[in-house]
């Protein structure tokens, strides 16, 4: 019977770490292929975009408050607000709009 929670945690931690450590430790040099270079250049933007929407409007209590936070966050980041400012603004927008909407 495989029921030792600590073994489960150990397996989960070991696999999580291996996935992260293998590429960055094995790929020591520069990747030469122009296609792969371009691919890897775009990966972060695509991953983060895909994770942001529509998740942001599904994380909040009402889709509207999430949508408002999305719009405010894009606007603030566009005009040069810092990471901390954009993140805080999104939280405040959700809190205020839900306060007004859900009352």
């Amino acid at each position: 019977m495989q029921d030792n929670v600590y073994v489960y945690i150990f397996v989960m931690a070991a696999v999580s770490y291996a996935i992260r450590a293998l590429p960055v430790t094995l790929i020591r040099g520069r990747i030469r292929s122009p296609f792969l270079q371009s691919f890897l250049y775009y990966v972060p933007y695509v991953t983060l975009s895909v994770m942001t929407f529509p998740a942001i409007i599904e994380a909040t209590q009402t889709p509207l408050s999430g949508a408002l936070a999305l719009a405010a966050g894009i606007l603030a980041a566009w005009v040069g607000a810092s990471l901390f400012q954009v993140a805080s603004l999104c939280c405040v927008i959700v809190f205020l709009s839900e306060f007004l909407l859900l009352h």
């Binding site: 495989q2 489960y8 890897l40 975009s49």
Partner: protein, 241 residues
């Protein structure tokens, strides 16, 4: 930037890690509830989170623990739920100074999370290991503490606060992807296409049934490859972008 000392980089990382920590704390609370359902103690939840630093991956893992589905099942589920980190780790390998001590590659790998990766790539030039450690020093303990507290008292935190804090992570993603979009029209269009594709893919018959993590991988591979084919990015100096 390139000449910043270890302690400067650590402090900058710590500063940028604060909103991550707040967002993590809120999300980890919800994760803690799943851990409690799996019969885990607060200590076990803390341990799992401080070692794994993964939201979807841990959530999937806790469902395995709840069902006691076996250690091999745990390994497979963790692999699938976290596979996107293979891509991030590969992308990260191209942003490291070849002169950097190898030990830092092992240290930085531990903290390849969606959020810490996001703030790292937002910085110019080679990644500074101590920037990663600074961000991890605040974000990882808050992630673990949030999980433990979620197990202890998951239902006590007002839902309105959890709701507000949960968008902190998305706000950070925006702060990373939007400024480059302002300078580069390709990235701007790419982001909009990603939003649309991500939204549509949730509704599609086959793709929609995939887990969130697998959908992210699928879309990342397809859309990044398409962008690379249509708009090859000139590999100028490594120091820019």
């Amino acid at each position: 930037m390139r000449n910043e000392t270890n302690s400067q980089a650590f402090r900058a990382g710590f500063h940028d890690g604060i909103p991550i920590g707040l967002g993590y704390f809120a999300v980890a609370f919800a994760l803690g509830v799943a851990a409690r359902d799996a019969g885990m103690t607060p200590f076990q939840g803390f341990l799992a989170s401080i070692l794994c630093n993964a939201s979807a991956g841990e959530y999937a893992g806790f469902t395995v623990i709840a069902a006691r589905s076996g250690y091999l099942g745990m390994a497979l589920i963790t692999l699938v739920a976290n596979a996107r980190y293979l891509l991030m780790s590969t992308a990260m390998s191209q942003r490291l100074d070849p002169e950097m001590k190898k030990i830092h590659r092992f240290g930085m790998a531990m903290y390849i999370t969606d959020e810490i990766f996001a703030i790292e790539i937002a910085r110019p030039g080679y990644l500074h290991p101590f920037y990663t450690y600074g961000a991890a020093a605040i974000a990882s303990p808050m992630w673990a503490a949030g999980t433990a507290l979620g197990i202890l008292a998951g239902n006590l935190m007002p839902v309105r606060i959890v709701s507000a804090l949960s968008v902190a992570l998305f706000g950070m993603f925006l702060a990373v992807i939007i400024p480059p979009a302002r300078k580069d029209r390709v990235i701007l269009v790419l982001i909009l296409v990603c939003f649309a594709a991500s939204w549509i893919s949730e509704k599609l018959p086959l793709v929609g049934t995939l887990s969130q993590g697998n959908r992210v991988i699928l879309l990342t591979v397809i859309l990044s490859a398409a962008a690379a084919l249509l708009f090859p990015h000139p590999a100028e100096e490594d120091k820019d972008n």
